[in-house]
Structure formats: structure tokens, C-alpha cells
Amino acid sequence: MEIIEKIKNQFNDNLTEIQKICLDKLQEIPLPNPKSEQWRLSNRSKFSNFLNYSVNEKNPKFDTPFPNTSQGTIRLVIGDNCQINLIEENYSIKQLSEDKLVKYIKEQISCFEQNENWSDLLNLSLNSTKNTLGLKINGSEIPPIEIFSHASSNSLNAKTLIIFLEKNCDIDLLQVNLGKENSSLSQSTFFCLEENSSVNHGVVSYGENKSNLLNSLNVIQQNNSEYNLGSLHFKFNYARFEIRIKQSAGNAKTNIKGMQITKKDEQISTFTKIDFNGPNGFLDQINKSLADDKSHAIFEGSIIVPKIAQKTDASQLSRNLLLSNLAQIDTKPQLEIIADDVKCKHGATISQLNEEELFYMRTRGITLTEASKLQLSSYFQEIISFIPISKDRWDLLDKLLKEN
């Protein structure tokens, strides 16, 4: 209840319609059910720490460790003065009007399952429209887009992103969530891919000391759409990445490659739910975790194939590296299948760096540290090369290797 009171006080009862709806729903379930599958492993003290910061709608000056070196990229920062209205020959990127935003969000809320979408409910309760960015994109040869969400120290910020990708549209989009020292960031993203559209979506969440993140991503894919997601979460004291993808009529392709890296006493978790709601769906998913020191990495992925989703081809792999005696890893890839003519499989492994490979490299004169780095870089590379835009310019790999 505390969080609800906090929001009400912050906005002095000047709540938007959406905020009111979401707060009403939050009243029924003020906190997520700690016994539910989605929340049972969540560190409770870290989670209450997430909620402890005061609600803040103001954004600090934007600074980023990721330089803007390319001229051809559109960079947007969700916050006070974020505006875009581009109409070019081949394409257009327009901001959604407030009416349309409200209408769409209301539709989404009506489909929410309260415990499962708790992060979204919180996000929409915390956010008046100030920190919401809604885009409608169409056309071809669209330049790559970068969208930033950043937190401010000692506060709880909420950012919402809504993107409509119209028919036959093809984009590269990179979303960056930046944590600040002692901060909490709630990020909710709603993505709608119309027929024949395709997106390479990158999500890089990069925290600082004692930063927290609740990152929720909801994707609806229509016929013949292709959604490729590369994600990386690291340096957060507490982070949750929830991915919900619905292939609304089947015949769509989804590729996901995600990674989370935990150190010190951090906890980072990834939850994915892929719902096939029509035939001929395709999924290829790999999730990697690396846990060191006293940290805890969690992956839970579910694939749901109802009767209607015949000829679904889905695979899910969870690969985990456990590097310390005090760290822990939990993983749960799960399949729920009713259709019979499907190809579904999943796999999971937990181990440490391969000793034989290390030994081989050392016999070739490579030091243990270097050999470990080489192994780690190949482990990271598969995911990083899947994240659009960033891969050539940001040296994410170097950054990660320096940190590990």
C-alpha cells in the first residue's frame, strides 16, 4: 500500500485517467505475489529497496557512456523535451497523439494479468504522460533509431515507450536503459509489429553502483512479422527483465538472444513468455547468464503452444556460467504444449569455464587470465553481435571484458 500512497501524494491527486485505472488495479494487488512463479526467486529486500526511492518525474541532464558518433542515427531520450516528427520521402516517424496513446494503453491494460503485468501497472501508475514516448513508424530505408531511458540518483523514475511499426516497415532500434547511482528505473515498452514488418531490437541496460531496474517489454507480432531481440543487462544491484511476446495470428518469426551478467551481490533476472496464437510460428531463443562473486542470476522462460498453433517450431536454450562458490544460478525453461504437430525443444546447462579449453590455450603460451578472457569473449560475442547499431561502435565487448 505504501507505494500507492506515495504515488497519490506525489501527484496531489492530479492523476491522469490511465494512472487512476492502474492505481485501482494496484489496490487489489499492492505487491506482486511472492509465491507466484514469476516472483518467487525475487530478492525481497532488494525489491523493497527498489520501491523505497521517492517518485520523481524530473529528468536530470542526460549523460551517457555511449557516445553518439554516427550522423545517420536518430537519437531520442525519453523525458521532458522529447519530440520528433519526421516526414521524409521514404519514411515517416511521427509521435502518437495523446488520445491515441490513451486508447492504446487502455486496450493493453484490459488484457493485463495482474500479477504477471505488475511491473507494467506500476510503470503506468507512476507515469503521467511526461515520460511517455509513443511513435508510429512507416516506410522504408529508415535510419537506425536509438532511444534512451535514464534514471536520476536517489529517485524512482518511470519511462514508457510505445511503438507502432506499420506494414512492410523494417527498422533497427536500440533501446538503452541507464541506471544511476542509488536509483530505480521502471521501463515499460509496448511494441506492435504489423504485417510484414521487421525489427532488429536491441536492449542494453547498463547500471551503476546500487541502481535498480524493472524492465518490461510487451510485443505483439502480426502475420509475417519478424522480431529479433538482442539484450544485455549488467551492473544492476537488482534488475528484472520481463519479455512477453505474442504472435497474435501465427506465421511470425521471433529470435531472441539475451544475456545477463551479475557480480558482487547483484540479482538480475530474465522472464520470458512466448505465446503462439496461430499456426506456423517460429522461435529461436538463447539466454546466457554469468554469475560471479555472491550474485544471483535467474532465467525463467515459458513457451506456450495452444491447439491453434500447429506447425510451430520453437527452441529455447539457457546457457549459464557459474564462476564463484558463493554465486548462484536458477534456470527454468518450460514448455506448455497442446498442439500435436509441432517441433518444440529446450535445453539448459550450468557449468564453469571449460577446463580443457583453458588448458589447451595455456599449453600454447597464453596466460590463464588471457585464456579466460578469450573464452568469455566468445561466450559474449554471440549475443553482442546480435544487438543492432551498438555492435560496431560502442565496444560493448571491451566494456564487458574490462568489467570481468
Binding site: N325, Q328, T331, I337, D340, H346, A348, S351, Q352
Partner: protein, 480 residues
């Protein structure tokens, strides 16, 4: 083109063990309370420690909530509407099988479990449990020569109270879960096995459980202790008559293996599954767990689950001893409206422990078949390994197959591998076999048998034959 319906028809087979034995039984009144528990204990002439154990469990049970996490969706059980003790009336003490009511012997004969001297199964000792009591145990003298104790748990309470007091509830504590607590409070009978140090049990031991009464639950308890360097293979079978009400079966099985000991526990479960509309059938809520206490000890579970309206069962291994080994091989077949939520828990506590999980689920009709398993590497399980494989086969587009593996590791120097896949009997494969002159029915049967081969290979010979027959029965028959 192969008609889809043909495959569905093939998996229909009437239940052959659904008859009721008309025998006079002694039943206590319905319901559960402290007095009922005292009455059961009194009927069984139990020592005080056991009555205390029961009462303590009952108090815990009263505070517990029936679990709903498996999402099995069954009608709420009225625990006050169950008879907790039901026994066929017979002379108080039976000195030989000749004194057992011939109707009971006939029942077991009909089930293919002959108990009479001349017809005894070669080299398998059988403990036959009818409703709440054990009615006969064969080959006792032969086993006694080797120091092996094989008797009903009620007898063990009287004759080997020290062993019962030492081990009962040490693997599955009364507070473990809702159904284990209920069992601890009201358990009626079951089997007790003790294999002394250095003894390899000269024959397979077997328990056969038969529910006869429609309104009583069955709550048996099995305890197997294998001392240092001993080994035993134990088989368990079960059937029940067809009633249109649901009968509760809440058993507890505890296994203890000390240094270098090995226990192989095999089950062929064929309780009545209910009819095509899902009316009737057994609720099979069982807690089975083995503790590999000693170094290099080994516990191997193999199961073929074909019956029960609902199965909720996770035979598990606690791998405490260094280099101890846990194994789980399972085939679960569900049809019509059956629901099976089964799997295992492999808890690696000691160093260099190993576990293997092979689970095969076949779902047909409107049934729901789930694998739910946990593999956990504790912080001290250095050098431990696990390998899990869970395959599902779907027959028809109404059945569901789910896989929920929970994997947890706290030890970097350990390895866990898990893989799962789903398949179906494809038309191409059937066409290929049929084009080679193999009949449709046989082709389906061959493919299912091939799918389950990894598990059948692990069953003892007597059981492998029975299991194969059982699956064949379920898969053959009604193609006209």
C-alpha cells in the same frame, strides 16, 4: 493417408482390473480426527512412539493447506468423507497362506499375482496389500536365511520397533507436504524391507497394492533400509476396481541407502483411471524419496505410470554421500481426461554425486501430462553432474504436454545438462513402417515402444515384460 482417428482409437483400451471382490470387510467410521487416529493405532497395537508420531503429524496436517501449485484442477476432496481404515475380515493371526481367505487369493490370482505355494512367482517375493492391510508375504523363510527382513510395516512395528523408530520419517518428515502429513497420521499398512550389511538380496521383492473398497482411501507406507554394501531390487504394482467416485491414494515411500548400498525401486502403476468422461478414478498423491546417506550409495527409481485419474508424484533422491548416484527413469502415459504431474527431484548435497533423469511422457485424448523436476547443486556438491532428458509424445491435438524443469546451482565446479523435446507419431514414419508390411497397430506400438526403450531397459525383467504388455494393451485393441 493415415486417418488421425485411427491413432486415437488405438490408445483406447478397457480397464481389465476393474472388478470388485465381494468380501466382508471391517471398516471404521468415516472422517478424520484424533480419535480415529487413536483407533487405527489401537487396532494395529502400536507402541506409544508411533501413536505420538501420528498425532504430531495430524496436528501439522490440520495447519497445512492442500497444495494447488500443480494446477491439476480437481474437485475438492472432502477429507471427512473418507474411511481411513478398511480391512478384509479374517482370522486374527495367519500362520500360513492356507488360512488366507480364498477369495483374496483368487483376487490376486486374477490380477496375475499368485500367492499360493504351488503357483508362487519364481524368484520374486510378494507382499500383497488389500485396502488397508497386508494379507500375505511370500518367501519369508528363504529371505530370513539371508537375514533379509521383508514383511508388512505393521509386523515390523511389532517385531522390529527399534528400526522403525530410528528410520521412520527421517527421509519424508511428517511436515514435508500436505499428503505426506496426512499419510503419517493415518497410514495403515505397507511394506518394510531391511537388507543387512553385505547382503545382496537373493530375489526381487515386490509389493502389490489393491484398493477394493470404493469409499476408503489407501495410505500405505513403505520403508526400505539397505545397510552397507547391500543391494536390493524392489517392485511395486497397483490396481483398483472401477467406481464412479474418486478414491484417494496418498502413500509415502522412504528409502535409505548406506555406504556402497544400492536400491532399485520399480513401479508399474495401473490404478483405475476413470472413464472416458473422467468420472471416477484414483487420485494418486504420492511422496517417494530416497536418501543416499552412504558413500558410493545408489538409488534408482524407475516407473511406468499408466493409471490414476490424477497422478502427483515426484520420486526424489537426496544425494548426501560422496560419489552417491541417483537415477530416475519414467514413462507416463495419459489418455482421456487423465492428468499426470510427475517428475523427480535430484538434490546434490555431497561431492562428486551424479544423477540421471530420463522421462518419457505420452499424452493422448484430452489428457494433460507434465514433467516437473528439480535439479539442485548445493554449495558443497563439488564435481557433481546431472543429465536430464525429458521427451514428450503427443497423440491427437487435444492432449497437452508440459515440461517444467527447475534447475538451481550453487557450485561452479559442477555440471547440469537438461534437454527436452516434443514429437508425435508422424504420418511419414507410419507410412514407412506400413509400406514394409507392418500393420498399423503394430507400427504405432513399435514406435511407442521405441520411444520408451531407454526406460524399459532399466526395468527388472519381470516388470519390463509387464510394462511392455501394459502399454501394448493401452495401445492395441480397438482398431477394427
Amino acid at each position: 493417408m493415415v486417418n488421425e482417428n485411427l491413432v486415437k482409437d488405438v490408445v483406447k483400451e478397457p480397464y481389465k482390473y476393474g472388478f470388485v471382490t465381494d468380501i466382508e470387510t471391517e471398516k471404521i467410521e468415516k472422517g478424520i480426527n484424533e480419535n480415529i487416529i487413536r483407533l487405527i493405532s489401537q487396532k494395529k497395537e502400536e507402541p506409544k512412539f508411533l501413536l505420538d508420531f501420528r498425532l504430531k503429524a495430524f496436528k501439522k496436517w490440520q495447519k497445512m493447506k492442500e497444495p494447488d501449485w500443480a494446477g491439476l484442477g480437481y474437485k475438492k476432496i472432502d477429507y471427512q468423507d473418507i474411511i481411513y481404515y478398511s480391512a478384509p475380515k479374517q482370522k486374527e493371526k495367519i500362520s500360513s497362506l492356507d488360512e488366507v481367505d480364498p477369495k483374496l487369493l483368487e483376487t490376486f490370482d486374477k490380477l496375475g499375482i499368485p500367492l499360493t505355494e504351488q503357483k508362487k512367482l519364481t524368484n520374486v517375493a510378494v507382499d500383497a496389500v488389500f485396502d488397508s492391510v497386508s494379507i500375505a508375504t511370500t518367501f519369508r523363510e528363504e529371505l530370513a536365511e539371508h537375514g533379509v527382513i521383508f514383511c508388512s510395516i505393521s509386523e515390523a512395528v511389532k517385531n522390529h520397533a527399534d528400526l522403525i523408530e530410528k528410520y521412520l520419517g527421517t527421509v519424508v518428515p511428517a511436515s514435508d507436504n500436505y499428503f505426506a502429513a496426512l499419510n503419517s497420521a493415518v497410514f495403515s499398512d505397507g511394506s518394510f524391507v531391511y537388507i543387512p550389511k553385505g547382503v545382496t538380496c537373493p530375489m526381487d521383492l515386490s509389493s502389490y497394492f489393491r484398493i477394493n473398497s470404493g469409499d476408503s482411501g489407501q495410505f500405505e507406507r513403505t520403508l526400505i533400509i539397505a545397510e552397507e554394501s547391500s543391494s536390493v531390487s524392489y517392485l511395486e504394482g497397483c490396481t483398483a476396481p472401477m467406481f464412479d467416485t474418486n478414491t484417494l491414494h496418498a502413500a509415502v515411500v522412504e528409502l535409505i541407502a548406506l555406504d556402497d548400498a544400492s536400491i532399485k525401486y520399480s513401479t508399474v502403476q495401473n490404478w483405475y483411471a476413470g472413464d472416458e468422461e473422467g468420472i471416477g478414478g484414483i487420485f494418486n498423491f504420492v511422496t517417494k524419496r530416497g536418501k543416499c546417506l552412504g558413500k558410493r550409495s545408489k538409488i534408482s527409481w524407475s516407473q511406468v505410470e499408466t493409471g490414476s485419474a490424477i497422478t502427483w508424484k515426484y520420486p526424489s533422491c537426496l544425494l548426501l554421500g560422496e560419489e552417491s548416484v541417483g537415477e530416475f527413469y519414467s514413462v507416463a502415459l495419459t489418455n482421456n481426461l487423465q492428468q499426470a504431474d510427475t517428475g523427480t527431484k535430484m538434490i546434490h548435497i555431497g561431492p562428486k554425486t551424479k544423477s540421471t533423469i530420463v522421462s518419457k511422457g505420452i499424452s493422448a485424448g484430452n489428457s494433460k501430462n507434465s514433467y516437473r523436476g528439480l535439479v539442485k547443486m548445493g554449495a558443497k556438491a563439488k564435481g557433481s553432474r546431472n543429465y536430464s532428458q525429458c521427451d514428450s509424445m503427443l497423440i491427437g491435438d487435444q492432449a497437452s504436454a508440459n515440461t517444467f524443469p527447475y534447475i538451481k546451482s550453487q557450485q561452479p565446479n559442477s555440471e547440469i545438462e537438461h534437454e527436452a523435446s516434443t514429437c508425435r507419431i508422424s504420418e511419414d514414419q507410419l507410412f514407412y513402417l506400413q509400406s514394409r508390411g507392418i500393420e498399423f497397430e503394430e507400427a504405432v506400438s513399435m514406435m511407442v515402444s521405441g520411444f520408451c526403450r531407454d526406460v524399459f531397459n532399466q526395468l527388472p525383467m519381470e516388470f519390463a515384460a509387464e510394462a511392455d504388455k501394459l502399454l501394448a494393451l493401452k495401445l492395441e485393441g480397438s482398431v477394427g
